[in-house]
Amino acid sequence: MSSGAEGLCIDRVHVWRGDRHVLKGVSLTLAARELLHITGPNGTGKTTLLRVASGLLRPEQGQVAWLGRPIASARAEYHSALAYAPHEPALKGDLTPLENLGFMIGLKRRVQAAELKAHLVRTGVGECADLPVRVLSAGQRRRVAMARVLASRAPLWLLDEPFTNLDRAGSELLSVLLAEHVNAGGMALVVAHHDLSIAATLRRLELA
């Protein structure tokens, strides 16, 4: 088991939502070349755990640390190192996929349109790169979101139900991309209610 100093470490985190004790002392560590599959029945706090990991939600007790430092003290660096893909693909409907990516990646680093187009082609939506996102199907939007995660070059991926709305080819593609990312030294937290078959080091965390 890794010490956590090289990656993400979540230590005995408690979260209440109103009266519900959603996360009861959950801990996990994640190091390079690891993929952690978070699973469990509905309502057990999988999305909440992901939001705590991303730093959006501050836990009432417990701590989240990245590379040994609490994320609250190095927020900008931590966010530069992660890509968070929520359940609904976070895209502006009135912009094209290319414009969406250009803006979101452009906030992190200078990027050329050609590179973004290449990522969109890789995830299979190259031909809709110049259509407004609102005319794309749910599966196509999911693929655009995948392209965004790819283009972010972030070592840590936080993915919430990333296989939703993907057809079989899309699911296989996502599995391949995840495996490539992890095997190249990245790490990923994936929330999925079904089993994953990924050619990489896979650990499971079941929330109850």
Binding site: W16, R17, G18, D19
Partner: protein
């Protein structure tokens, strides 16, 4: 040295201490308010200019003062809850809001009753009463924001932020209203200012101020205990306290 401060952050401690303090505050309030009312309503001489009408100052001025004091308390308590994440801060802020709003309403009603003999009308957009009215709107804003959130913790934090923004604005609002009123001086030149006060008038008034503070403290303790019970209802000590 700081242990008493840490204990203030503990709900059971505050719950117990508030119960102990309430009767003392109530007694002090009863004594000071009685002295103030008797001294002010009966024994103080009538004002040469306003006659007996000025006597309402014995209720109006302390209410207006308390409305501002309560808003500041609410903002400070909310800030403590927001910045240091101490839940008691939010409990105090939530408990104090309706009390402050009631004082504001009382100040408005007594002010308007006072205005009737002075201006011939119940409302003449006097600068101080107008500021009180805007303060009432600020209270209503904070009190409406808190329950609008599904998660009460987020509602507390949002209300705390709003009350901090409000408390910064209160002096600005007051200054603006005074300026506005000086522009539009119309026929109402007499503001409901108190007369210059000899001792026989002043001491009962000061006593009323003190009495209202004690009354506020007593009611705050009572409401705070209710807030604590509600917020901590899942915890073991509350279940013990209710079903020993």
């Amino acid at each position: 040295m700081w242990t008493w401060f840490y204990r203030l952050a503990s709900p059971p401690y505050v719950y117990g201490t508030a119960a102990l303090l309430t009767p003392w505050f109530l007694a002090a309030a009863a004594v000071t308010i009685s002295y103030g009312l008797v001294g002010g309503l009966i024994f103080a001489p009538p004002d040469y200019q306003q006659g007996d009408a000025f006597r309402i100052i014995y209720v109006h001025a302390p209410s207006a003062w308390m409305s501002l004091f309560a808003y500041s308390t609410m903002a400070v308590a909310g800030a403590i809850g927001l910045i240091w994440r101490i839940k008691m801060g939010h409990a105090v802020a939530a408990a104090t809001a309706p009390i402050g709003a009631s004082f504001t309403l009382l100040a408005l009603v007594t002010g308007s009753l006072w205005g009737r003999p002075m201006w011939g009308t119940y409302w003449a957009w006097d600068p101080r009463l107008t500021s009180e009215l805007i303060l009432l709107f600020l209270y209503v804003g904070v009190m409406s924001l808190r329950p609008a959130f599904e998660d009460p913790a987020r509602g507390d934090r949002a209300a705390a932020l709003l009350s901090i923004v409000g408390v910064v604005n209160v002096p600005i609002i007051h200054f603006s209203v005074v300026w506005w009123n000086s522009l539009h001086q119309g026929s109402t030149v007499v503001t409901i200012d108190g007369p210059k006060m000899p001792g026989s008038m002043l001491w009962p008034l000061l006593s009323m101020f003190l009495g209202f503070m004690c009354f506020y403290a007593a009611v705050l303790c009572m409401r705070l205990r209710g807030e604590i019970l509600n917020r901590e209802r899942q915890s073991a000590w509350v279940r013990e306290a209710i079903h020993p």
